[in-house]
Amino acid sequence: MLNVKELLEEIKASPYKEIVVRAPHTGVVEFAELAVGDAVVGRSGTYQEKPGTPLATLTREKNRKPINAPEKGEVQSIRTELEGQFVEAGEELLTIRHFLTRKEVIELILQQALHLFRAPERAKYYFIPEVDQKLKVSGKRSVKVHDGMDMLIVSRMKRETPLAYSGPDGIIYSVYFHRGENVDAGEPLLGICPEDQLSTIQDVVTRVQSEWEEE
């Protein structure tokens, strides 16, 4: 049985995550008026329609792209020496110290409780059209999976091959990959919850929700 209390204590001992904000592409960077120690917030609103705190802008081919805080936190460092300079893609711009949210803690703990279907190799992953459609229409917990079921498309080196699910029967509880992003071999793709364990999983979620205090 999962020791939620122990896991929570472990996370509480180090409840922060350092987020490195990098230039998503090339361009000339201009920082917003921020100082080390300033608080920033991530995307918010009912529909996530409000962007996070502006951190910088990146101008490329006459387009100004705002760079906003991806999560709530505190500015830890800013590379002010890059102000007004052309930067290459991936250049580190600033760092944010982020206090883990309830949702993130739940995901961390659920990774211990769910059956994780992992990436067999580094590649991009997509759901097959039938599953994708069902997930979009009815939500992820509506999709039942069983061993040998065609589930994903593996895309690497411009070749696409099908990938069948292997593991216990259950429902898709968590999806850990994003469309168009590479997943390393061994990283979790899906968290599957056997139907008879659904109530146990819900208990874990409720427990974390009541015990984790967000900053």
């Binding site: 592409h25 090339t26 081919e61 290459e88 893609a89 991936g90 190799e121 997509y126 080196m157």
Partner: protein, 467 residues
């Protein structure tokens, strides 16, 4: 005048373009992504290009990345290599029309627009009486229309007395054999059509598909064309045979010339077929005012009937095998990439068709970490050893560093190296090809076993150019 050429491509072609730039006295600017940080093209740029010659970008497919670097690096021209930009007329148009215009090293954008699309090409070819494959001559976006074309093609093949009728479904915006599937059972057509449509949408951002008759047991031939800027002067650099392909119709061995009627017997007049496809290709080049390097791709049936498949309005991977047998004014060392760059800056060709002669047979091997036994599934992993014996008749193009281990990036084509062999005739070229493959060492480690296509290449060498 010295130009500063931005190379908007990666891997071995970036290396060949850098070398061509050096030969012509031009400077270059090279791009790379995080996934490609260990590629040999990055090493060579550092070694030959000096500071300000290398920039990290987010994606090779992002035009804004390419052009923003071009400005910062003060480039005067863009060479798209053989990547997707090479056949994207909007990109070519943007390069020459922007506020800081650059030279696009390739055909003029309107030529790419007219020929870069398989469907337009088919229409132009049909208007000139050039034979093309039966099927749709525009991209199909409607499932009902697609099914009707497929039904008609199946019926047509049945009427022709073909026992195993088959229809090809192709992503209209694809190229290089990507996004093509066969359908033998009319009942399976719809699911294949949907799969290709979705693939095309994901990879090319265009759902259009082409539906064509599948021609069996054909040979895949090419005609290498070079035209001056201005579109008035056109020459050819002979033919190639690219019939050795993977199950996904990706080329694995290319041979120049396309057939060797002096050495092998054919059931048709092979010399005439080569002459016909060359003439048809040059006729089309003249008609559209072609103005760079380009390839006319043909399929030839076992009865010796040629059909034009498409025109690749770019330098191709296999250009080197044609260059290996071509002599200009009797001189060795033909470099079609250098010729393409010269033409782009408006230089005169300086020679005519009569000055181009051909000597012997060239074979190009595409060396890839893949498993031919499992439908050529590309292999992920790390290359631990890669070596071969140098020979005067061998040219290697590769981005794999020889001084360290190399992790194969998952993001790009799986080609690791190209080996070009030259022989006085087919027999000698095949002997040398086999000797080269025997000397080749390619080792690696991968989670599910490391595979290469070397045995496949060796096996196919035995019957090259037989039809």
């Amino acid at each position: 005048m010295t130009q500063r050429i931005l190379i908007a491509n990666r891997g071995e072609i970036a290396i060949r373009i850098m070398k061509a730039c050096r030969k012509l006295g031009h400077e270059f600017v090279v791009l790379y992504t995080d996934a490609d940080a260990e590629s040999g093209h990055v090493d060579l740029a550092r070694e030959l290009g000096g500071p300000r010659s290398l920039y990290r970008i987010q994606s090779y497919l992002d035009a804004n990345e390419v052009l923003s670097v071009a400005d910062v690096a003060e480039a005067t021209a863009v060479h798209p290599g053989y990547g997707f930009f090479a056949e994207d007329f909007r990109f070519a148009r943007r390069v020459v029309r922007r506020d800081s215009p650059l030279t696009f090293i390739g055909p003029s954008w309107w030529v790419i627009r007219d020929l870069g699309d398989k469907i337009n090409t088919k229409r132009i070819a049909r208007s000139l009486g050039v034979p093309t494959i039966p099927g749709s001559d525009r991209p199909i976006y409607s499932e009902m229309e697609a099914e009707e074309i497929a039904r008609n093609l199946f019926a047509f093949q049945r009427d022709q007395g073909l026992v195993n009728s088959c229809v090809l479904v192709k992503a209209s915006a694809g190229g290089g054999g990507m996004g093509i599937e066969e359908v033998e059972d009319p009942d399976q057509f719809r699911s294949t059509y949907r799969r290709i449509r979705n693939y095309a949408k994901r990879n090319f951002n265009d759902e259009g598909v082409l539906i064509e008759q599948r021609i069996f047991d054909f040979n895949h031939l090419e005609v290498q064309v070079l035209s001056e800027r201005g579109g008035e002067r056109h020459v050819h650099f002979g033919t190639r045979n690219c019939s050795v392909q993977s199950t996904g119709m990706q080329k694995r061995i290319e041979v120049a010339p396309g057939f060797v009627p002096d050495e092998l017997g054919y059931a048709f007049n092979a010399a005439k077929v080569l002459e016909d496809i060359t003439n048809h290709s040059l006729t089309m080049a003249a008609d559209v005012g072609y103005d760079s390097v380009g390839t006319w791709e043909w399929i030839v049936t076992p009865r010796g009937e040629p059909f034009l498949m498409e025109v690749n309005t770019r330098i191709q991977v296999e250009n080197g095998v044609s260059a290996a047998i071509a002599r200009i004014g009797g001189h060795d060392g033909t470099d079609l990439i250098a010729e393409q760059i010269r033409m782009a800056f408006g230089d005169g060709m300086g020679y005519a068709q009569d000055d181009i002669t051909f000597d012997g047979v060239g074979i190009e091997y595409r060396i890839i970490a893949e498993n031919p036994a499992q439908r050529f599934a590309p292999c992920s992993g790390t290359i631990t050893r890669f070596s071969w014996t140098d020979q005067p008749w061998l040219t290697m193009h590769t981005q794999i560093p020889q001084d360290r281990e190399y992790e194969i990036p998952m993001e790009y084509d799986p080609n690791l190296a190209l080996a070009i062999i030259h022989g006085a005739d087919l027999r000698e070229a095949k002997e040398r090809g086999t000797a080269f493959l025997d000397s080749l060492v390619l080792e690696g480690r991968a989670a599910s076993g490391f595979n290469t296509n070397i045995d496949f290449l060796r096996e196919k060498t035995a019957s090259l150019l037989e039809f």
